[in-house]
Assembly symmetry: C2
Homo-oligomer: 196 residues x 2
């Protein structure tokens, strides 16, 4: 989808396996993978991220549900999917996240579409936006000023995930259809920085 | 389990329902509930936390898996359970968390049991302990200096949850059997502050 400068090669590294617990066919990546099936995989069932962050997608070409992948071991699908109600074991494409900056991140959330209505500037992680003082279960638009963020449907970083980056859409997400290619709702109850 | 001074009554409030989406039999709580079945419930399927935080437990008398519950709406079990591999829909007891302090929290993690080996002092949320520089997927003991924390099995706040509080065990968790009554492992890959 996006061309990446060659000098970033080698800074990101993740390995995927076709079976749980790092078994079966494997393949290593440094930039992105628009369709794991083109590498002869039926599916991905376990992942090790050696250098992150990455974002995984349910469907090829970076479509569908999103899954943030920071450094560490993911031996089974439930280690990355926060959404066990809509149980998908698909993770068919993924790419590196360039703009993550854990120590300098800022996002502004808005009550209405197109950056209208009440707003709130956020520089820290909030497992409950309502506990922080946001009087709604919804966020309608968001502007990433710096860093990369993940917004979640439920409190405590659960449910649908939306990865929001400074260097995509120039950081502007004008309505919930721009949060992902398949956001079912504008319900957002927790938000946090992505760790580099 | 613990007696709470009367003056804290009214600062915590959560409502539980027997069915999903806040339907069916309901009951409101302000302190704790050692066994929801004694209130005539078969199960809990949805929760609203109006003032938190709380911690839910899989079994009566605060036993088994733990689930952190911060302010917000939890319409289905997967909104609080991060552990869909071991699919339990049980949440049979719960109590308020007193020591949460989002702006002043500190925990020290240790490589070995009884606060031995390499250590790291943490004052911020880390979705990946390995990305922070911790060279292992395990944490063997922890000391809460202030606030309340949740440690998780997988990166990105997924898998088994362990709620760690300054005012329980005097904040000291000497080995993984003290993390919860049923910790299956000392694998911990992410950690974060609990929000008040």
């Amino acid at each position: 989808m996006t061309s990446h400068p060659m000098e970033t090669q080698g800074q990101w590294k993740m390995t995927v396996w076709e079976e749980e617990n790092f078994q079966g066919k494997r393949c290593e990546f440094h930039l992105e993978c628009p369709n794991i099936m083109e590498r002869g995989f039926q599916r991905i069932r376990s992942i090790k991220v050696e250098n992150g962050p990455w974002v995984g997608f349910e469907y090829p070409e970076f479509q569908g549900q999103q899954f943030i992948l920071e450094k560490g071991d993911y031996p089974r699908w439930e280690a990355w999917s926060g959404n066990s109600g809509y149980r998908t074991e698909h993770l068919l494409s993924f790419r590196s996240v360039k703009s993550a900056n854990h120590s300098d991140s800022k996002i502004t959330i808005y009550e209405a579409d197109n950056f209208q209505g009440r707003k709130f500037e956020i520089c820290d992680d909030y497992p409950s936006l309502q506990a922080m003082g946001w009087c709604s279960k919804e966020v309608s638009s968001m502007k990433v000023n710096s860093g990369a963020w993940v917004a979640y449907q439920y409190p405590g970083y659960r449910g649908y995930q939306y990865v929001l980056e400074r260097d995509r859409h120039t950081g502007e997400y004008r309505n919930y259809n721009e949060f992902s290619t398949q956001a079912p709702t504008n319900q957002i109850q927790s938000i946090r920085r992505v760790q580099h």
